[in-house]
Chain length 231, copies 2
């Protein structure tokens, strides 16, 4: 199976590197450029499956880039990146077709989830499943719904992201630092105590429905989602 090709376009080197290495690690083949002209050139040459595009670029706006691309018959879906306080109305309405957008700062895991969601919508034949199921708990990535033994559980956005990350890494201990890195936005500079808080929230919602606790504390190491898998 070929790796999925993603073109990253952002002029801030920090963000660009963050995205590039994060996505590479997630198994994508990544090409990263810093401006609109390079983006168009790279898209033409590299035939990416998806483009991660900052709206504010030094030479031209992200929208001009897409316009140019579409006119060149490059139809790869675009995931726009925009600062939170930039007017969102402009974005809405322009994300047609398979496109989507996210506001900065984002969390890496969220970006990856979005990319998968877009590709899922775009290529129906995608192998990716939108359901994550571990033990008694399952997540519907499309509907953002969580079920425990068939029963629906309401989670806040952060609770949801945390649970997803823990389940993606089931049966592996994750340190609070790792969790912070993947679940929270990249500019979060608070304390790790917040992870404890959210684990506590999740337990309060999940434990009453599971036959045994699924979120284990590994004192001194971190937390782990445990599936009581039979062999």
């Amino acid at each position: 199976m070929e790796p999925i090709k993603v073109l990253v376009v952002d002029d801030e080197p920090n963000i660009r590197d963050l995205l590039a290495s994060g996505l590479r690690f997630a198994g994508f083949s990544v090409l990263a450029v810093a401006n609109g002209n390079d983006a168009v050139a790279a898209a033409e040459k590299g035939k990416p499956d998806l483009i991660l595009l900052d709206v504010m670029l030094p030479d031209m706006s992200g929208f001009s880039v897409t316009k140019k691309l579409r006119s060149m018959d490059i139809m790869a879906p675009v995931l726009f990146l925009t600062a939170r306080d930039e007017v969102e109305d402009k974005i809405t309405g322009l994300t047609v077709g398979g496109d989507d957008y996210m506001t900065k700062p984002f969390s890496l895991d969220e970006i990856i989830a979005r990319i998968h969601a877009i590709l899922r919508r775009t290529k129906q034949a995608s192998v990716e499943k939108s359901i994550i199921e571990v033990g008694e708990v399952s997540i519907d990535e499309d509907a953002h719904e969580v079920f425990v033994n068939g029963e629906s559980v309401e989670l806040s956005p952060t609770e949801y992201k945390l649970l997803r990350f823990l389940m993606e890494n089931a049966n592996r201990v994750l340190s609070k630092a790792q969790i912070l890195d993947h679940v929270w936005e990249y500019d979060f500079n608070g304390e790790m105590g917040i992870v404890e808080s959210y684990v506590s929230y999740l337990r309060k919602k999940l434990d009453p429905l599971t036959s045994e606790p699924v979120l284990l504390t590994k004192r001194g190491h971190g937390y782990m989602f445990k599936s009581n898998k039979k062999k």
Copy 2:
């Protein structure tokens, strides 16, 4: 099989030597430098599989080093080293992809375990398994879980590290000094009696589940984890 190449970057000679000799002994091919510029040069030339990088360097910060490396398309994962009281927020958010970080003071065995964990995550094709199994005892490095004949055993962090070190060197006598050096943090200045205490703790937890004692005392020499495996 080629040895794994590790680049060590730390300006404190003591730590650098400690790491270099410890890692060499563990079977790595080690190159050690003292500052950021040398690190970049060495990384370009030596193509290391992993970089052990102190965050506080005399000429440039460890982050600048990684930035430079990434821009040069050197994608080796980085294990950052940072003083415990340095603000950890700075690290958070920057350890993406395969990267990770540890706080000083560390224990040598913990560093080695981390390196293996990172390489395991990075190269999926790695032969490394996350399970250490000697005789009736097995350790799951991902889940930080210990089993004796299939039965789970709860260990404290230090107990776990001690057992891992003993099992990694099964059927080899380890002196208390060696154990202290590898399992405890390098600035530990207590007595060796603590090793006796922890061996005692381990025995109390393991012996009831094994057919015969696995932790042997070699009077005057040290301790040994014994496997009664036939060949």
